[in-house]
């Protein structure tokens, strides 16, 4: 099998046993990028020479007999809102088009300490605001399963890159479903850890009480491995939690005895596509066949989660994005009348439409006379949403349901209807508001050949249980082995080069 067709575990083994060098592995994936990315546009930028130099360094250290890290020689793609020293970090925004961070994010330090090889930077909705990757200032990413369709968002580039085998692993961020929804649309595994599990230091802030960094992979093992690499306490993020990080891979293949799976009746109501519903029910039957107890639980406030989110997230965003003032970094307008006009013109020129919409919503929700009615109210509803989850997890170990209401929609289908786009996140947003971990893994394909995602949720810091439950299902099915038609993706690009 070609190197790009291999799982993370297989690549590690090939490297460890000397069947492939880090340089050979990196070359294989960089070649895959060269073949497919003209069609997919998953990456905003990558530096082939720098990646190869890094891989050669890993090889040199192995030859010198040094002990290498757990991701030695494994290629990783990073969402372009995570700072890496000396490498552009654009957030898919004109505002940061020329921004080069002077420091590494915590997760970048972790990847480097693990001897991973970062080979590219993935597209996203501008500042991670969106569910389709269409809000990128540098053009949309296309779904490798059907280039007419969206890969989802905001981490659409990371998901599409893994689906198109441009890397076995990618890193994304999830504020309202931005890892799990694109993972579902692209047929890969994607996970949002518990809030605080992974340091946000160096992640460009969108909504600080909701943002969390997490892994993408071709299989559950890859996410477990990447998560144990990224997790851990970091004093530079005061919300980073000082709790030991279990080895998520150690017991991954051991099925959970007496697993109690919750299904939420509110997740199977109006708006859920029939094919998605059928695939998710079939997945729940797999758990039944494995001896799990399946019981219904209720999340009565879940129907308010999108409404609460679209107050809380834009409010935090309007504050976080106030830093883009054209003074310290980022875009500054060429002509302006005075200081205030410089702010307004610079921001007006460089922010895209969705970012402006959210800043406006947040500014409005926090403005005089509205704070109690909108923001405070949303924070109270947020607590009720969390309490629903607490009650549910007193009765079940995991909750299983659809990751998205539909399979991938067409690019352009919803650009004029922001509210319809927001409602796409209805199943994923609750986990961000409550701070709990969630994961999406492939559980089927529609008649049109588009992937369907199963979302699993667990109580805070129960990542190990979540991953083992996911692996139990994965071990019984072949959906994770599915791959889009890479030859067709390479076709048009191959002819032009």
């Amino acid at each position: 099998m070609s190197l790009t067709g291999q799982s993370t575990a297989q690549l590690r083994q090939a490297f460890a046993e000397g069947q492939a060098t880090a340089a050979e592995i990196a070359t294989a994936f960089l070649d895959q990028i060269a073949r497919c990315d003209e069609t997919v546009s998953a990456l905003l930028h990558h530096d082939r020479e720098a990646a190869l130099a890094r891989a050669a360094e890993v090889d040199r250290r192995r030859e010198a007999g040094e002990t290498l890290g757990p991701l030695a020689g494994v290629p990783v793609i990073l969402k372009d809102n995570i700072c890496m020293r000396g490498v552009p970090t654009t957030c898919a925004s004109r505002m940061l088009e020329n921004f080069v961070p002077p420091y590494d994010a915590h997760v970048v330090e972790r990847l480097q300490a693990a001897d991973a090889v970062v080979i590219g930077r993935a597209n996203l909705d501008e500042f991670a605001m969106g569910s389709s990757c269409e809000n990128s200032a540098f053009g949309p990413t296309r779904n490798p399963w059907n280039p007419e369709c969206s890969p989802g968002g905001s981490s659409g580039g990371s998901a599409a890159a893994v689906a198109a085998r441009m890397a076995p692993l990618a890193v994304g961020s999830d504020t309202g479903g931005s890892i799990r929804q694109p993972a579902a649309f692209c047929g890969v595994v994607g996970m949002k850890p518990t809030y605080g599990r992974v340091s946000r230091y160096g992640l460009v802030a969108f909504a600080s009480s909701l943002d969390q960094i997490g892994p993408f992979s071709t299989d559950v093992h890859g996410s477990a491995l990447l998560l144990e690499t990224l997790s851990g306490h970091d004093p530079r993020d005061t919300t980073s939690v000082d709790q030991p990080v279990p080895s998520y891979t150690e017991k991954l293949d051991r099925p959970l005895e007496g697993l109690r799976v919750g299904i939420v009746k509110e997740h199977f109501g109006e708006g859920l596509d029939e094919e998605v519903s059928a695939a998710v029910h079939a997945a729940i039957d797999v758990y039944r066949s494995l001896g799990a107890e399946v019981k219904e639980v209720s999340l009565p406030h879940s129907k308010y989660s999108v409404a609460a989110y679209y107050i809380i997230a834009p409010s935090e965003a309007s504050s976080n994005l106030a830093r883009y003032d054209g003074v310290h970094y980022g875009h500054r307008a060429e002509s302006f009348e005075n200081m205030v006009d410089m702010y307004e013109t610079s921001r007006g020129e460089a922010f895209g439409e969705e970012v402006k919409r959210r800043i406006m919503l947040g500014t409005y929700a926090l403005s005089s006379g509205y704070y109690d009615a909108y923001y405070l109210k949303a924070l109270k509803v947020r607590r009720l949403i969390r309490e629903d989850f607490d009650k549910a997890f007193a009765e079940v170990d995991i909750i299983a349901g659809p990751a998205t209401p539909t399979t991938a929609f067409r690019i352009g289908e919803m650009v004029d209807d922001p509210l319809a786009m927001y409602l796409n996140d209805i199943y994923t947003i609750g986990a961000n508001l409550a701070g709990i971990p969630g994961l999406s893994l492939p559980c089927g394909r529609s008649d049109a050949g588009l992937p369907i995602g199963l979302q699993l949720l667990a109580a805070p810091f129960e990542e190990e249980r979540l991953l083992r439950a996911a692996r139990m299902y994965e071990a019984q099915t072949d959906w994770h082995g599915g791959c889009p038609d890479l030859e067709a993706l390479a076709g048009s690009a191959g002819e032009s080069t």
Partner: protein, 137 residues
């Protein structure tokens, strides 16, 4: 209550509502008030223009016309929160209970000046340069 008007922008300290910065005031703005109990009404382009000013965003006329109904739609949707009984509910600002995190007050190395200034749109190598703020200075 009135100081909430600029909470979002003032928090980050970039756009403080000081006189030197001109038009921003801290009185409650009656032209923005359209909350009448539980039902949000439709926004007008004038109100949207006002919010844009608070947010320090220059919008084109076309953007303003497009944003006005879109923001109204979202506000009408989020109005469903008003049906939830929350009188005895504590607001939840963070997903995990957040405590004060303290560290020893020790001097540490910081970013070298040239690196801190490297991304600045305009600098003289020592400071960030901005347009003149105080008239006649």
């Amino acid at each position: 209550m009135f100081f909430y008007a600029l909470r979002s922008v003032a928090e980050a300290g970039r756009f403080p509502n000081r006189d030197a910065f001109g038009t921003l005031r801290s009185e409650p703005d009656s032209t923005l008030l359209l909350w009448s109990g539980s039902v949000a009404e439709t926004l007008t382009p004038e109100q949207v223009r006002k919010v844009a000013r608070l947010a320090r965003l220059k919008l084109t006329e076309e953007e303003l016309q497009r944003l006005t109904p879109q923001l109204s739609d979202v506000l009408k949707y989020v109005d469903m929160l008003s049906e939830v009984e929350t009188d005895d509910v504590e607001p939840m600002a963070h997903a995990i209970e957040v405590h004060n995190v303290l560290r020893p007050d020790q001097a540490r190395a910081s970013l070298p000046r040239e690196e801190a200034l490297a991304n600045a749109p305009n600098s003289d190598g020592r400071y960030f340069l901005v347009p003149q703020i105080i008239e006649g200075a």
